[in-house]
């Protein structure tokens, strides 16, 4: 998968490096601000109440 992405990124080495970083940031942001907030309440990691 990573090989495939690397081969398909345009712009020679500088372009590929820039492209990879942009992709990495985009995926991290998606995880941090969309996926994790949605996922977290379903995990039993943070119960602090007695019930």
């Amino acid at each position: 998968m990573y090989t495939w992405i690397w081969r398909h990124l345009p712009g020679g080495l500088p372009g590929k490096i820039t492209g990879s970083l942009v992709l990495l940031l985009a995926v991290s942001a998606l995880l941090l601000f969309v996926v994790f907030p949605w996922l977290e309440p379903m995990l039993p990691l943070s119960d602090v109440t007695v019930r």
Partner: protein
């Protein structure tokens, strides 16, 4: 410029195709990716949620101070003495714990659902209100989301826990190991131990005579296997904010 036909001495490894190779590489990459995602989740839990919470707490602080200044009706005021119904999700008081530093201030919200606890310590709606006889109980996160109760295990008996309402300071002090009445200052219980937030902790149905405060959070850190419970008792009469505009003596170690 790699001419494969001439087999250069330092040739790159030949890219071999084959189903097995592809599958193994795919599994390997997936596992590495999952590992990185889990690491990122830890970063999220421990730092990102703290940042988000900091912004939210300062909004809540402004809101509450503004409401107090605008002399809007304080839901804690009950001229008729009837049971208060605080609006769920709304901040109504501040908690300060001098042991954690003078800058330790958090807005307490009404309700203990996760969407409230994400924003700050939450008040168990059925428990007493600040200063009342009974048990003023709150839950708060240990790690992440502002980590309001991260260091509760470092509190010592007699440490002050100060509640600020629109016009009053309430100074509670953590109970000792075993005081009269059998309520310890600190204990670790199972998650089902709802009796710790009863009006008389541990004795359901008993009529309360003391003004207690209870904090619940998860234990150990990073886990939700048990609950860390802190019990404190109101120390002396409530202090009017008009008399102590900069906080009660207990705030600065008195």
């Amino acid at each position: 410029m790699n001419e494969d036909s001439q087999q250069p001495r330092h040739a790159r490894p030949v890219r071999r195709s084959g189903l097995g190779r592809t599958v193994v590489r795919g599994i390997g990459q997936t596992l590495i990716t999952l590992g990185l995602v889990v690491l990122l989740f830890v970063v999220y839990q421990v730092w990102v949620t703290d940042e988000i919470n900091r912004g939210r707490q300062s909004e809540l602080t402004q809101d509450l101070r503004q409401r107090w200044e605008s002399a809007a009706e304080d839901p804690l005021d009950r001229p008729d003495g009837g049971p208060a119904r605080l609006p769920l999700g709304e901040g109504f008081a501040f908690i300060r714990i001098p042991r954690f530093g003078l800058d330790y201030v958090r807005v307490i919200l009404e309700g203990t659902d996760e969407d409230k606890l994400t924003e700050g310590p939450g008040h168990y709606p059925d428990s007493a209100l600040p200063g009342e006889v009974g048990n003023f109980a709150m839950a708060g996160h240990r790690v992440g989301r502002g980590s309001p109760f991260l260091n509760l295990d470092q509190l010592d008996p007699d440490d002050a826990i100060i509640i600020e309402t629109s016009d009053t300071w309430y100074v509670y002090r953590m109970l000792g190991a075993s005081t009269a009445g059998g309520i310890p200052g600190r204990r670790i219980v199972e998650p089902e131990a709802v009796e710790v937030v009863d009006p008389v902790p541990g004795r359901s149905g008993e009529e309360p005579t003391r003004s207690l405060l209870t904090l619940t959070t998860c234990h150990p850190k990073f886990s939700a296997a048990q609950r860390l419970i802190i019990h404190a008792e109101l120390d002396g009469a409530p202090l009017a904010k008009d008399d102590y505009p900069d906080g009660p003596p207990a705030l600065t170690g008195g």
